[in-house]
Symmetry: D2
Subunit: 150 residues, 4 copies
């Protein structure tokens, strides 16, 4: 049982959609009593990192080996309903399109059946000097294969 408690949460795929659950802590909220708007981008990044890992791509190793990392090139997000302290949320992410140097991901933050935010994120693969570079072929195949094994 201790072994279980010591294992951090991991999300995973439900068909082509990746689910990532989290709880709202004090750090996420602001004095208006709701989650601060920039923090949804943190939740979305945690979900994307987890999705990339779940797809079989080791982004952290690539970063540590100096091969580059994903950086966000564009975000569009609508805030529909606010989250509050103690809420349990799920970030649902879906790879919409895999291009040469970037990936377009749709991400919505849900509280049960309610959609709190709805967004699109373009992530570009950059070399360590910050220039866009082609994503490794194997990664592209892994992203394209999501949801097809299920």
């Amino acid at each position: 049982m201790s072994a279980d408690l010591d294992r951090p949460y991991r999300g995973g795929f439900v068909g082509p959609e990746h689910h990532f659950a989290l709880t709202i802590y004090f750090e996420d909220t602001d004095t208006a009593g709701i989650v601060y708007y920039a923090n949804y981008l943190k939740f979305m990044e945690r979900a994307r990192s987890d999705m990339i890992r779940a797809a079989g791509v080791d982004q952290v190793a690539a970063h540590h080996e100096g091969k580059g990392a994903y950086a966000v090139a564009e975000v569009q997000i609508r805030y529909l309903r606010p989250a509050r302290l103690g809420d349990d949320l799920v970030v649902v992410s879906k790879v919409e399109e895999v291009r040469g140097v970037s990936v377009l991901i749709q991400q919505r933050v849900m509280r049960g059946e309610e959609m709190l935010t709805d967004g699109k994120v373009t992530a570009a693969f950059l070399d360590p000097s910050g220039r866009p570079q082609r994503q490794p072929k194997q990664w592209v195949e892994k992203f394209r294969g999501i949801g097809q094994q299920a």
Copy 2:
């Protein structure tokens, strides 16, 4: 001189555009050596809060008196170049449109002549229960008057 050091930075208007300068600290960066993407939304919110104050609207008092606060309804942002530790940046903000319950603001983050991010933010005025409400008439007039007194 101590008096000056003890006075926090305030931005201000240059014609119709509001300028807000800041420096990048360790807290703003991530292990990729650049500013973490969500943190630009923090910079933009500091700039908007300062702009609203500079326009003569006391949002903080309204919040403390339980009259409501602005909440972000939509963000579109493109990340063009990354900022790094120690960079001096300027957030340039411009009220594009004042509607009944919301304001559309264009915000770009500059490093000298280079544009690092380019965004549009829709901020809606919410009552304490989170419902959109009409902005106070005086506030609307103040937003509409920006850049016209100069």
Copy 3:
């Protein structure tokens, strides 16, 4: 299975010690390639909130009902080894002493067998106006009972 993915992580007690596991994401790191020092306090707060919940105390409801909330009165923390992107950590927390208006909690952040940080936190129970108030009797009993039911 989707049901499991949609359930956020919860920590729990291993005897008198509470375990809370987490993974390091980009947001937690800084340009020095390590976790930014203030962010350990976020991890510790998540762990304390989870511990309080696991002990049977509904702090979130108390906050929403305007009965007050815990606020940190004192922190002592030593940083022994840095955490990095992708690390899996466990915050181990132990209630050391329950006083009238405050609780003294020992918290260490572990990466496997390595201790990364070692700290003590005093949390005081404040009323909504910010004044220390006695903790509800039932809560005190719950904190005192930790580890004794096991």
Copy 4:
């Protein structure tokens, strides 16, 4: 005038004490209506970075040249009064002791005459692999010279 607005705030020394002023924004607060406890450590780090720069030490260049960076080894902090949205604060920092590989700094956060937090921070100079190393001799002299030129 635009030139002034585009220049970010810099703190400076008042005798042996360094002053660094800042304003509380939404991002700094939490749902309890006060500044989240970990965020004071961000303010303190901004102040230390500014103090180091004001003392004539170019920590950012050293970091970019791969010569190392300061990392916090220990923090002790007491939280006496909370800060709220819109507050103007000053972080007052004083180098208490300069040792071979570390510096002991006293830092308090003030709101006018009120002390909000009172802390001590030990910062160690680490090489890029994270091992403590002796601070450059010139830096030590600069830290020791603070307040003596005034």
